[in-house]
């Protein structure tokens, strides 16, 4: 009853989020004095299970044909049954689209309470408490969950990975009789070309805001800079809403929550809703014409200049320094 279950989608692989999820799960299970159990779902679950088994006490593989590709209703039913069988104290998920979509409904079916975008999980006596940002990142709340199990989706990349263990956890195949629920069916899946490496996994991010002024400079100025730095490109809500760049580039409360080692904000004012997406970045730096721009309150270093003057010169200097 003190066990912790983590749910992983095979399609995302053993990325930084999956590693953070296992790390958070292990520490939490230790604190509760329970076991760490993993449920791995989807095509390729076998391969992922072998990696996860080095970190977990038991692993259940669910890769029946009906679950090979993510379909919301079928996947939810399967996870609800698998988690119910484990009767854990808590179920942890990462913060990806599918986990966010499923978590509240999973909690409902398990008779538990869900809470999301969690930055910290604490055990206080009998109570489970989680910390999360609210009011667009302006405030932080501690939420006490009233029902069991606690179903928590984490800003998983913010959590340290679990240490590998000597023993390898037991891997079993789920014996589930699954009916495909076809009330909803994914009929088309498209990955944005430029988002190939996921923004949430990026170690360096070059991001542009409203002050960039249009779609072209993203292409002609920021992209070459990102290429030099081996960085992923991102943008503020204003730039995405204007249609300058795809919505998948959006970072902030209403976009991606990223955790790079360096986040370079170019012509981004730093509204709190944007900062909510980068609060776990290791280093933040900015190029902005306004020394009083809120972004600088979160920067380790910055430059007060027009990005149009800075970026071309910066590319030259970086190229020279990298030689």
């Amino acid at each position: 009853m003190n066990d912790v279950a983590i749910c992983l989608f095979a399609s995302t692989g053993f990325d930084k989020a999956a590693q953070g999820l296992a790390g958070a799960g292990r520490r939490f299970a230790d604190e509760l004095g329970g076991q760490l159990r993993a449920v791995v779902i989807g095509a390729g679950a076998d391969t992922l299970a072998l990696k996860v088994a080095r970190l977990c006490d038991t692993v259940i593989v669910a890769d029946q044909a009906e679950l090979a590709e993510y379909q919301p209703e079928t996947c939810l039913s399967a996870l609800a049954r698998l988690c119910a069988d484990l009767s854990p104290r808590a179920v942890l998920l990462a913060g990806d689209t599918y986990s966010q979509e499923i978590a509240p409904r999973l909690a409902y079916r398990l008779g538990g309470s869900a809470v999301g975008d969690c930055l910290e999980v604490q055990v206080e006596g009998d109570a489970l408490r989680v910390s999360r940002q609210v009011y667009g990142g302006k405030a932080q709340a501690v939420i006490e969950l009233k029902r069991m199990p606690a179903v928590v989706w984490l800003r998983a990349r913010s959590f340290a990975p679990a240490p590998a263990r000597a023993e390898v956890g037991e891997v079993t195949r789920a014996a589930l009789d699954i009916q495909a629920d076809t009330r909803t069916r994914v009929v088309e899946r498209k990955r944005e070309e430029k988002g190939e490496a996921r923004l949430e996994e990026a170690r360096v991010i070059v991001s542009g805001g409203r002050g960039i002024g249009g779609p072209e400079p993203f292409e002609t100025e920021l992209q070459p800079l990102a290429d030099l730095l081996g960085a992923q490109m991102a943008a503020s809500r204003a730039a995405c809403d204007a249609g300058w760049v795809p919505p998948t580039w959006q970072v902030g409360q209403t976009g991606k929550k990223v955790t790079p080692d360096l986040y370079l904000a170019i012509a981004i004012t730093g509204a709190s809703q944007h900062m909510a997406g980068i609060s776990e970045a290791k280093t933040i730096s900015a190029i902005n014409t306004d020394p009083d721009a809120p972004i600088f309150k979160h920067c380790q270093f910055g430059i007060v200049e027009d990005y149009r003057k800075v970026v071309p010169l910066l590319r030259e200097k970086l190229a020279a320094l990298q030689k």
Binding site: P72, D96, T97, Y98, E101, A103, P104, Y108, S113, A114, V115, G116, Q133, Y135, G136, A139, Q140, A141, V142, I143, L145, K146, R147, D181, R183, T184, R185, V187, E188, E192, G195, R198, E200, R203, L229, C240, D241, P247, T248, Q253, T254, K256, D261, L262, A271, S272, I284, P291, P294, K297, F301, G302, I303, E305, V310, L313, L314, K317, L318, L321
Partner: protein, 268 residues
């Protein structure tokens, strides 16, 4: 087609951080001089519904809100955006009910309002951002749910939903009835209603219910905390001192900026 759109009125999330205060004892944000506005994703949901109606030719759009009496203003503005009907459940209890309470109240009101092919909510509210209302309403009503939708087409009794994922997008086909949560993209920025239409909307009928009218455990809903409870609310004091690069010329400044970047990234 019968469409229901849920709206939440919140404290304007665009107020600058320096003007934002919380009441740590009551675990609520202080109103201060901030306006009350409709949460943006709720408006994106309404805009998506309006565009669906325009393409489909006909559909009835009903609005529903559970909130303080002032939420009537959000519903009136939405009526002015040309929704067809509106209902308000007045919250006379906990100002910040937990997600399950909200879903139960809304689901009870939805049952009372009739049957709907499509129930739409924002992906999360701009204040507490729990992101659970849609999924929990779907469970209460026994319907499927698709999240992060930004466009809906109706095709011969079926719905085609485009939704955003971490890496791109997906298209789903769905049989009504269904619950969707809506996110923003450049195509569903909410239209601005005419001032005259907003004034006229105050003459339109608007259904008002109390929790007691819904046939639910009204006192449990008033307490609003059987799912979870906010134990603490505070403003984190985290300010970094930014080191601005210095130099007599732009060239010198950019030089030292580049050096700092290399320091940080080569340590990776």
């Amino acid at each position: 087609m019968n469409i229901l759109v849920c709206l939440k009125q919140i404290l304007d999330p665009e107020i600058p951080a320096r003007d934002f205060r919380v009441d740590t004892a009551r675990r609520e944000a202080e109103r201060g001089s901030a306006n009350l506005v409709t949460s943006i994703f709720c408006e994106n949901a309404l805009e998506t519904a309006l565009q669906l109606r325009e393409r489909a030719g006909s559909a009835k759009i009903t609005l529903l809100s559970y909130g303080q009496p002032s939420s009537e203003d959000s519903l009136r503005k939405a009526l002015a955006m040309k929704a067809d009907a509106a209902a308000l459940i007045v919250n006379d209890g906990n100002a910040n009910p937990d997600p399950l309470t909200v879903a139960r109240v809304l689901a009870a009101a939805i049952r009372k309002l009739g049957t709907f092919d499509l129930i739409m909510v924002g992906r999360e509210a701009g204040d507490w951002g729990a992101g659970q209302t849609g999924g929990l309403i779907a469970e209460e009503l026994g319907m499927p749910c698709v999240s992060f939708v930004d466009r809906i087409e109706s095709e011969g009794g079926q719905l085609r939903l485009k939704r955003q994922t971490d890496t791109g997008w997906e298209v789903l086909e769905a049989e009504p009835p269904i619950v969707v949560t809506v996110t923003n993209d450049e195509h569903n920025l909410p239209r601005i209603p005419k001032v005259r239409d907003v004034m006229m909307s105050y003459r339109q009928p608007l259904t008002k219910w109390t929790l007691d009218d819904l046939g639910i455990e009204a006192n449990e809903a008033r307490a609003g905390n059987t799912y979870y409870q906010v134990a603490e609310l505070f403003i984190p004091q985290k300010e970094t001192r930014c080191k601005f690069v210095t130099g007599d010329t732009l060239d010198q400044k950019v030089e030292s900026f580049a050096k700092r970047i290399v320091e940080v990234t080569s340590a990776l």
